[in-house]
């Protein structure tokens, strides 16, 4: 046979926690590509696998799953990918089934379902080293014979053992095309399946495979019927009588599939696995400690605190390096362009500043993913979800929502990316929606400025910390009811039952963890990066243009005896005031009037939509103290304390009253002011619908709550 080997596609399928990804990395040697399946937020990971004899095939790593019953988007993708029903993707020429050698019966259920597709199969029994330690002896040859002669390979992907055997087995499967032995359905079920296949095919005019017929008969959901276009009216009667036929043979139609497969597998495994003397694993003992009624939550809190502290504090140093690197770069680029102020500003403030602000997120993302990877691969993530589930289940989230929400307190973006660990699509979407409410580190500067300038001087450092802590809770306070309403009344996605395997503890493999960390970061940069870059340039242009030299001349002429630095700050303020952004700020100030914001704050708020931390430097510009203003800047504090309303009913009263200060902080706590978050939300929810919804909801909520705060406090004091 002389077919071009490069065109062959092999799919990797298996239960979660079988070491499938480790095997994938070992087989492809990190020559991988990550894409997305069309229409769903399921990643398509593929790579080139050398079969050892010079032959190369494309290997695709399908999501881990326990059963082909199409209940979640991940499972549907596996079914569609295996059957070749995905647009633009080929049907796999062979399937590598990865099973955990320590629990063959459960793992082979999926294998047995996949066998129904009739593809050539390689069965990999991974974690053979652990099975051996436990005293299990597996007769691979006997199992191969029982399953119709498919290659059965014992591997320890973690240790790199048996990988070459897998390569050879794939080559053999592609060559000999041996399908795995299929289950023998009892006569009545076989008849019912044949009926369903024949009627569905006749009604729709499409080919209906045996595997399709099983999904139609055994699954309560309609995904397969919808795909082939078999309408409710057409299928109702056929399915009901087919299910009655199954029921009459003594099987509940919803239970028939696992019952028949498991009976078939028990027979196939007879004598394959013999238990000898071995060490019971340490998992039960470790669980006794980590899931202990009292110690468990304490250790959990310690681990999560460690994770949060690392994301928050460890990332600080590289973030500062990036910031100073960006500043140094600006310093190099700017002087030669002094003659071209527009180009200079575009390069330094727009492009370099924008890219720098974006890159500053990377350390947090990398560190979070490093830790999440370790938690996942070690098996602790499932325990964390087990401990936390009760606190989250009542509002429609689940235990796995905890890590994304905690990460959100450092930065929403890594938090959003880590929602990928939540299998239930409904809980995942709801978690992603509430993560941006967590008080991220970019909100810190405005809280710090307001507390230091107003709360501290007026009420003392005690109240300063109370307000600081309070502001960090505001978002959480609104996030929980939001999740409740969202999952109860808005999201139409069917919730998944929270059935979670607590897998064996395992040492994470550094290469796998680092590799996944790198892939996630690269994906974030390539996808969110372009959107964020565009937003930054637009906001730069709005606050730069128009730029009439007459403005600067007028300021200089009016301030002859003032130092050059002060004049420069005044010129900058004047330019911003007459820029499109400044004019727009003045025009929409009435909208923010109920919150007690003057036009200067309004411009700051508007300029902060791409990145909320910009508020401090924008206030620095509008209050004429220069754009280098920091949260601890004495000048800016003084300028803000002195600011008074110049007209209207509040003329002569300070702009930054306690009411306005609180309203401003609450506004920043709740408002959706982060371009990268919106872009990431769109990426993770598979479209702009949820991103737009989040933006509108958070911004409207921020306006309403801040208005309430201002109007109530101003009347009380």
């Amino acid at each position: 046979m002389s077919t071009p080997d490069a065109g062959l596609l092999v799919a990797l399928v298996g239960n979660p926690n079988t070491g499938k990804s480790t095997l994938f990395n070992a087989l492809t040697g990190l020559r991988q590509r990550v894409g997305n399946y069309p229409g769903v937020t399921v990643a398509r990971k593929s790579g080139t696998c050398d079969l050892g004899d010079g032959q190369k095939v494309e290997l695709v790593d399908l999501p881990g799953l326990y059963s082909l019953a199409a209940a979640s988007p991940d499972e549907q993708v596996v079914i569609d990918a295996l059957a070749g029903n995905i647009a633009g993707d080929r049907r796999p020429d062979a399937v590598v089934l990865v099973a955990d050698a320590t629990n063959l019966l459960r793992n082979l259920f999926l294998a047995s379902q996949v066998a129904e597709l009739g593809r050539p199969v390689v069965l990999v029994l991974n974690q053979a080293d652990v099975a051996k330690e436990q005293g299990l002896r597996i007769d691979a040859e006997l199992l191969s014979r029982r399953l119709g002669g498919v290659p059965v390979v014992l591997t320890s992907a973690w240790k790199g053992e048996g990988i070459a055997d897998v390569r050879r087995a794939i080559a053999r499967a592609l060559d000999q095309r041996t399908p795995m032995k299929r289950v023998v359905w009892p006569a009545n079920i076989a008849g019912a399946l044949a009926d369903v296949a024949a009627t569905a095919s006749a009604d729709t005019g499409k080919e209906v495979t045996a595997a399709d017929a099983q999904r139609l008969l055994f699954d309560g959901n309609a995904t397969t019927a919808d795909r082939i276009g078999w309408t409710v009216a057409q299928r109702e009667k056929t399915l009901r009588s087919a299910r009655d036929r199954v029921r009459n043979s003594g099987y509940n139609p919803m239970a028939a599939e696992p019952l028949v497969h498991y009976a078939h597998l028990r027979a196939a495994l007879e004598g394959v696995v013999t238990e000898g003397r071995g060490k019971a694993g340490r998992t039960a003992a470790v669980d006794g400690l980590l899931l202990h009624r009292i110690l468990g939550p304490v250790l959990f809190a310690g681990i999560m605190l460690g994770l949060f502290a690392s994301v928050f504090w460890l990332a600080k140093f590289p973030m500062e390096w990036i910031q100073s690197g960006v500043d140094a770069f600006k310093g190099v680029v700017a002087p030669p362009l002094d003659a071209y102020p527009m180009l200079q500003s575009l390069l330094t403030d727009g492009i370099i500043g924008g890219v720098g602000a974006f890159l500053a997120f990377l350390p947090q993302i990398l560190i979070l993913f490093l830790f999440v990877g370790i938690l996942e691969d070690s098996g602790y993530m499932a325990r964390a979800a087990f401990i936390m589930d009760r606190l989250f289940s009542w509002c429609g989230l689940n235990g796995k929502s905890f890590v994304p929400m905690l990460s959100g307190f450092a930065c929403a973006i890594p938090g959003l990316l880590s929602t990928r660990t939540i299998e239930d699509p409904k809980a995942r979407l709801a978690t992603a929606f509430v993560v941006p409410f967590m008080s991220c580190s970019a909100r810190f500067p405005i809280y710090a400025l307001m507390c230091a300038a107003f709360i501290g001087p007026l009420y003392g450092p005690g109240w300063e910390s109370v307000v600081m802590v309070g502001m960090h809770c505001v978002g959480l306070l609104f996030a929980v009811p939001t999740a409740f309403v969202l999952t109860r009344f808005v999201l139409k996605v069917k919730p998944q039952p929270f059935v979670l395997e607590l897998p064996r503890y395992q040492m994470p493999k550094p290469r796998d963890v680092l590799w996944r960390m790198w892939q996630n970061a690269a994906e974030f940069v390539s996808k969110a990066g372009t959107v964020i870059f565009a937003i930054t340039i637009i906001v730069w242009a709005l606050s730069y243009f128009p730029r009439d030299a007459a403005v600067a001349d007028r300021i200089k002429a009016a301030n002859p005896a003032v130092s050059e630095e002060v004049v420069k700050a005044k010129v900058q303020a004047a330019y911003v005031e007459q820029s499109y952004m400044g004019r727009f700020g003045k025009a929409v100030q009435p909208v923010f009037d109920p919150l007690g914001f003057d036009w200067k704050i309004t411009v700051g708020v508007l300029a902060s939509f791409p990145a909320r931390e910009v508020i401090v430097s924008t206030l620095g510009v509008t209050y004429s103290v220069g754009e280098g203003a920091k949260a601890d800047s004495q000048h800016l504090r003084q300028a803000m304390q002195d600011a008074k309303w110049s007209e209207g009913p509040r003329a002569g009263r300070p702009i930054f009253s306690l009411a306005a200060v609180l309203a401003l902080m609450v506004f920043f706590a709740l408002c959706s002011q982060c371009g990268p978050t919106i872009a990431t939300l769109a990426q993770e929810t598979g479209g702009w619908k949820w991103a737009a919804g989040s933006f509108v909801y958070m911004t409207a909520l921020a306006w309403i709550v801040a208005t309430l705060v201002y109007q109530v406090v101003i009347r009380l004091l």
Binding site: T102, L105, N252, R390, P497
Partner: protein
């Protein structure tokens, strides 16, 4: 016959019946929890919910509310610890 949700930590039981129409039970059946299977309630989470059960060499967590439809025979011939409460 006892609902699984009422088992005590450490107690064994044999699955008598489940409700195959429900999503949870379908998941559990896919994992091999079929009528006649011996299972053990290992522990409850620190807040009392969810539960961790062991069957067929694996440990699986499920919520208390979802465990109510799983009926367990605690007097069957499996290693039993008698319930300490009626």
């Amino acid at each position: 016959m006892t609902p699984l949700s009422q088992l005590l930590p450490g107690q064994f039981g044999k699955l008598a019946s489940l409700n195959p129409e429900r999503g949870v039970d379908q998941r559990l059946m896919a994992l091999g929890l079929l009528p006649g299977m011996v299972l053990k309630l290992i522990r409850k989470a620190p807040l009392g919910d969810p539960l961790a059960i062991e069957f067929g060499g694996q440990v699986v967590s499920l919520r208390l509310a979802e465990a109510e439809n799983l009926i367990v025979d605690v007097s069957a011939d499996c290693p039993i610890q008698r319930p300490r409460q009626p």
